[in-house]
């Protein structure tokens, strides 16, 4: 998943806009970005991912740091795109219609469940998505972004201690939930 020792040379070329370097960065992180976005906004994850990479491109020429810092940059932008999308959706006017009038239009796809099923690891994403938003964010950024507590705290604008508390609660909740599922016939 990581570029490792190649990262510096790739980033140097990416700063000049070299397409091959940009593609290397994209292919390295895009699957994780997509999974992160699918947990939050399954229906528009692809579009949000594209927006995320364009936002990242604006920061690439001035980027200074290693691979972990670049991951933090990418997931910071991704999270902001999610928040922007939610704000836009909250402001968007909706015209309520009678659900009965939609019955004849055919089966309605569930984008979220489709996304989970398509990943094959849907059960894990489903359990994480059922966590409170802060806890889910911490788990996803720590695991998918491969970020440290400090980086996650910076992205979420929280203290590291608060992030540790959130991840602790998330793990206890996940353990309890898995225990429930284990005993459920």
């Amino acid at each position: 998943m990581t570029l490792g020792t190649q990262f510096n040379s790739v980033m140097t070329a990416a700063r000049t806009g070299a397409p091959w370097a940009l593609e290397a960065l994209y292919r390295d992180l895009q699957p994780r970005v997509l999974r992160y976005l699918r947990v939050h906004e399954p229906g528009v994850a692809e579009d949000l991912a594209s927006d995320t990479w364009i936002g990242v491109a604006k920061g690439v020429p001035g980027f200074l740091g290693g691979e972990e810092e670049f991951h933090a940059l990418v997931f910071t932008v991704a999270r902001r795109r999610v928040l922007d999308h939610r704000r836009t959706e909250a402001r968007r006017r909706t015209a309520p219609s009678d659900p009965g009038s939609l019955e004849g239009l055919g089966p309605v796809a569930d984008a979220e469940s489709d996304a989970m099923d398509r990943l094959g690891e849907g059960w894990a994403l489903r359990l994480v998505s059922e966590l409170p938003p802060d806890q889910a964010d911490v788990v996803l950024l720590r695991v998918m972004g491969d970020l440290s507590v400090k980086d996650v705290a910076s992205i979420l604008d929280k203290q590291p201690g608060a992030v540790r508390a959130l991840q602790h609660r998330a793990i206890r909740r996940l353990a309890a939930r898995l225990g429930e599922e284990a005993v459920t016939p």
């Binding site: 994209y26 594209s50 793990i171």
Partner: protein
């Protein structure tokens, strides 16, 4: 008693922190924490995920868009630092211009009104002080002037009188000596009658030297047509009337040369051209009521 730390869901020891870190980083040995084996598997599933084939078309378009964005960005080394600053939008610039014009107009208007002395008293005084600092003189309020006098006058040496004069445009007589008479029969002093300004007789007593009681200088107001040195009250030391009972120099009563001394008779029963001069009358007051001053005493015949 249950403390908040005893609530199971919120308990977090150092071991818990290490456990959570190890789980999320994928380094936990599940043999040591079998109850978390399920969570460890979930974390592994999240981390590895399926190797999903990326949409090549979308990947190409996204990378091209990224390259275009980077090409469009100015190279920091080629761009002067001033150009990197956020450009001011035209509408914002217009708004700034309008605000500047409005500010200048209001300052000019306020300054003009201040020069005309048309501001409210407090504002006018402040404007006076502000402009004075830059050497521009604009009218102050009366209160401001008095306040300045009060602030700049030292307490010793009649501060009250100075402030009083400033407040009354020199009409105030506070603190002044108004010529008390040393004579027990003298003129009123305190009330501004026998002051020099009002032409009272220089004869402090105004008594007639004439046994017949012609009034000499009877201490009436001079300028106001009463008996006085200047105005021809019977001024003869001997009590003789003047020539023809004419007025003195200006306005007077029976002058120095007229009437013979006539005890008990007025030098000139009538008014003789003076404004208010009364005839000398032995033993009579020159004219208590006619004195130019408010409270002049009549002369007393000796």
């Amino acid at each position: 008693m249950t403390f908040y730390r005893d609530v199971p869901d919120d308990m977090m020891s150092a071991n818990d922190v290490e456990l959570a870190d190890a789980l999320l980083e994928g380094t936990l040995d599940t043999a040591e924490a079998p109850s978390y084996a399920g969570v460890a598997e979930l974390i592994r599933a999240l981390d590895e995920g399926p190797d999903e084939d990326l949409d090549p078309e979308r990947a190409r378009a996204t990378v091209a868009a990224m390259a275009a964005v980077i090409d469009a960005l100015p190279t920091p080394s080629r761009v002067p630092s001033a150009a990197v600053t956020t450009p001011v939008r035209p509408r914002r610039r217009i708004r700034m211009k309008v605000a500047g014009v409005a500010l200048a107009a209001s300052m000019l208007g306020t300054g003009g009104v201040a020069f005309a002395g048309g501001l409210p008293a407090g504002a006018q005084h402040i404007a006076h002080q502000l402009f004075a600092k830059v050497g521009v003189s604009i009218p102050d309020t009366k209160g401001g002037e008095i306040s300045d006098v009060a602030h700049t006058t030292p307490p010793e040496g009649g501060k009250g009188a100075t402030v009083c004069k400033a407040a009354s445009e020199d009409k105030c007589q506070a603190g002044e000596d108004h010529g008390h008479s040393n004579d027990p029969h003298g003129q009123a002093g305190d009330h501004g009658q026998a002051g020099d300004d009002h032409g009272h007789s220089n004869d402090p007593h105004g008594h007639s030297n004439d046994p017949h009681g012609q009034a000499g200088d009877h201490g009436q107001a001079g300028d106001h047509g009463q008996a006085g040195d200047d105005h021809g009250q019977a001024g003869d030391d001997h009590g003789n009337g003047g020539g023809n009972g004419q007025a003195g120099d200006d306005h007077g009563q029976a002058g120095d040369h007229g009437q013979p001394a006539d005890p008990g008779q007025p030098a000139d029963p009538g008014q003789s051209g003076g404004d208010h001069g009364q005839p000398a009358d032995p033993g009579q007051p020159a004219d208590p009521g006619q004195s130019g001053g408010d409270h002049g005493k009549p002369g007393i015949s000796t």
